[in-house]
């Protein structure tokens, strides 16, 4: 059967795992072109990407965690905590060069992630409960750090804001950060040993252990990277919008999970690729752009997103099931 398919001209396209997603993206783009033609200017596309870059960063970290078979609900709180830490300190010491705050954000974020990883990997807590707990702890810490105060645009230094706002080749640097993360993520997951081990653990932890992989270490790595990306996202978020308060990013973890699931990352772990997350981000950003453009739809945002996640997971699971059934059928034929 597979031989016949291979001879087809369309094979390189149909064999591509994210083919269905690409079609979905195409339909959305066509709908966008019909309903809101104003969307197709370079400026509006760039601003759309810029507003969704934070979700992309969170989603690529979340993908690593979901690949291990876990889930990280604390990424949004990590974002808030690091955002508050860096911008409050930046406000007090404006003379320090801005690159320091990026490094600090990554360090604080990966520390938060490491705690999650330690709880899940070493202490074998259920990821959901562990990160639900730390989600509240980090959010509370963010409140303590900020003292409940807001920081407003005039309190941000130019160098700090430039990290998200500066245009390189006409595109904001926050988008470049995202692109770099996607490329590095692809290399990490596809061609490095720890990257492949993340898949191994997610697919079958017992066999991974037998083949000499230490799941605790790999999980700690995955959660730490997710935390580091959330930290980076936190710093960029505050720089991008020039605003900082302890409640920022509430609900972003759901956005990140939604993007992952839309991008074909299996919620049971072990399946999913970074290009899926890229496409998932694009689909999500087009949808949210739609909602913001069409009048009277802004109250619908939560309901629509909830519905989208349910439908996406439903399709995801249906596809998995039919795939398994097909494999079983083919085996039956062989026997």
């Amino acid at each position: 059967m597979s031989k016949q398919n291979k001879s087809s001209i369309l094979y390189p396209f149909t064999s591509y795992k994210q083919f269905g997603l690409l079609i979905c993206l195409g339909i959305l783009l066509a709908a966008a072109a019909l309903l809101t033609p104003s969307m197709f200017t370079l400026d509006s596309i760039i601003s759309m990407l810029r507003n969704n870059a934070v979700y992309a960063l969170l989603a690529s970290g979340m993908m690593l965690v979901i690949l291990t078979g876990g889930i990280d609900l604390s990424v949004a709180s990590t974002l808030a905590l690091t955002g508050v830490v860096t911008s409050v300190l930046m406000n007090k010491n404006p003379s320090i060069p801005a690159i320091f705050w990026v490094i600090l954000a990554v360090v604080v974020g990966s520390l938060c992630g490491f705690i999650n990883g330690f709880l899940v990997g070493k202490l074998k807590m259920i990821p959901l409960i562990a990160t639900l707990g730390t989600m509240y702890v980090y959010r509370g810490l963010a409140f303590l750090m900020s003292g409940g105060n807001w920081l407003f645009p005039h309190q941000f230094t130019e160098g700090y804001v430039a990290f998200a706002d500066k245009r390189i080749l006409g595109v904001h640097s926050i988008i470049w950060f995202t692109v770099i993360v996607f490329i590095l993520g692809g290399i990490f997951l596809g061609y490095t040993r720890p990257g492949r081990r993340i898949y191994a653990i997610g697919t079958n932890q017992d066999s991974a252990v037998i083949s000499g992989i230490k799941p605790a270490n790999i999980k700690m790595l995955a959660y730490s990277i997710a935390g580091a990306l959330a930290g980076l996202a936190g710093m960029l978020y505050t720089a991008n919008f020039s605003i900082c308060y302890y409640g920022m990013g509430e609900g972003f973890e759901m956005q990140a999970i939604a993007i992952c699931i839309l991008g074909g990352v299996s919620i049971t772990g072990g399946k999913g690729r970074i290009d899926g997350v890229v496409i998932g981000t694009l689909i999500m950003s087009i949808i949210s752009y739609f909602i913001s453009l069409l009048p009277g739809l802004s109250v619908w945002q939560d309901a629509i997103q909830g519905a989208i996640i349910i439908i996406a997971v439903g399709i995801n699971i249906y596809v998995l099931k039919t795939g398994e059934k097909n494999i079983l059928k083919e085996r039956g034929k062989l026997i």
Binding site: I71, L119, L123, K124, M125, I126, L128, I129, A130, L132, G133, T134, M135, Y136, V137, R139, G140, L141, F143, L144, G148, Y246, G251, M254, I257, A258, I261, I267, T268, V299, W300, Q301, D302, A303, I304, Q305, G306, A307, I309, I310, V313, G314, I317, Y318, K321
Partner: protein, 348 residues
């Protein structure tokens, strides 16, 4: 027990009652914690503690989510989780409020509100049991969906028209005992009887321990899952009565966020395993009171709501970690012991 060969195949169903074992059981530890908090309160604020009505108001402050705790025991027992309870509660309040605005009899409004919760629960249950979607994802997204629906319908309006008895059950005392506590204890007794003394309750334990085996033993696992989530929805509906009563009879779309975490934290603190199949009703009942006293005490000490979040998060993590570490260390200790005895027997 004296024969070492029999230790591994000890099939006695009921342990004999041992005082020493009873005193260090998780429920008793929870009671100690409750006592310690009380003593701390007495020492720090003696005049307030013995003042008329303080105790009952502390207890009342924790009762608005207590009914969801009872149902959450069932949900966690079958190895699932429900994070949409707070949203369901708001949906129920909204349905009641809207019907009251339309001048329906208050009795009918309350019933419809509770039934609305049941429908939300069935929706969750169907997705989880029939489509085999993970409970976490389903309930997270339905919590967005349900709250989103409330946002669409209410927008920024506030519903203020609710039955009169709402504030009565939430704020009044009967013979010095809070009415909400009486209702809670009655409900807890019913849930305890169902869980510990009925066929349905035993089936919940079975599903939590091994759903596949339960299915092969001829039990309708899907049906029970749907039923459990429906009960959860109905209890969220009942909870909405006390919630709205305590909030002074007003409902907006953003109220009650974060309640789901409190409910789960109370259950976990009460010794319910999030893996399913472990725990008893008594634990969460005591943990509900602990949480009420703790939050009230912290409020008296001037700790703000956001810092209290840190504490609830830490409690959630610690409550799972302590029994786990205990178990691991005991296991290790036993392994060491058996290893030594083996070595000893070899050398002999």
């Amino acid at each position: 027990m004296s024969n070492p060969k029999l230790i591994s195949r000890d099939l006695t169903v009921k342990d004999t009652f041992k005082l020493s074992k009873f005193l260090i059981s998780w429920e008793m530890i929870l009671i100690y914690i409750l006592l310690i908090i009380n003593i701390a309160l007495i020492i720090s604020q003696p005049s307030l503690y013995f003042a008329n009505g303080t105790l009952s108001s502390i207890i009342q402050s924790g009762m608005d989510l207590s009914f969801m705790v009872l149902a959450m025991i069932f949900v966690l027992m079958i190895g699932a989780i429900d994070v949409s309870v707070a949203s369901i509660m708001i949906v129920c309040s909204m349905v009641t409020g809207l019907m009251m605005d339309a001048n329906f009899p208050s009795f009918l409004c309350v019933i419809c509100g509770i039934l609305a919760g049941g429908i939300c629960g069935i929706f969750n249950g169907l997705l989880i049991a029939k489509l085999k979607m993970p409970a976490v994802i389903v309930t997270i997204s339905t919590s967005m969906l349900f709250r989103g629906i409330v946002k669409i319908i209410l927008d920024v309006n506030v519903l203020k028209n609710f039955p009169k008895f709402y504030s009565t059950v939430a704020w009044e005392n009967l013979l010095g005992i809070p009415i909400s506590l009486i209702f809670f204890l009655i409900a807890a007794t019913i849930f305890g009887i169902i869980l510990h003394h009925s066929k349905f309750g035993r089936e919940l334990y079975m599903i939590g321990n091994n759903p596949t085996t339960t299915l092969y033993s001829g039990i309708n696992v899907d049906g029970i899952q749907i039923l459990v989530f429906t009960i959860m929805g109905l209890m969220a509906g009942i909870s909405s009565i006390f919630f709205v009563g305590r909030m002074g009879g007003g409902v907006s779309s953003t109220m009650g966020t974060g309640y789901e975490l409190n409910v789960i934290a109370i259950c976990v603190l009460g010794g319910i395993s999030t893996n399913g199949g472990k725990g008893r009703v008594y634990g969460p009942v005591i943990a509900t009171l602990i949480m009420a006293f703790l939050i009230y005490t912290l409020g008296l000490m001037g700790v703000d709501a956001n810092s209290r979040k840190i504490l609830i998060g830490l409690i959630l993590i610690l409550a799972i970690l302590i029994p786990h570490i205990n178990k691991e260390s005991i296991k290790q200790f036993k392994q060491n012991l058996s290893g030594k005895s083996k070595k000893a027997s070899v050398t002999k």
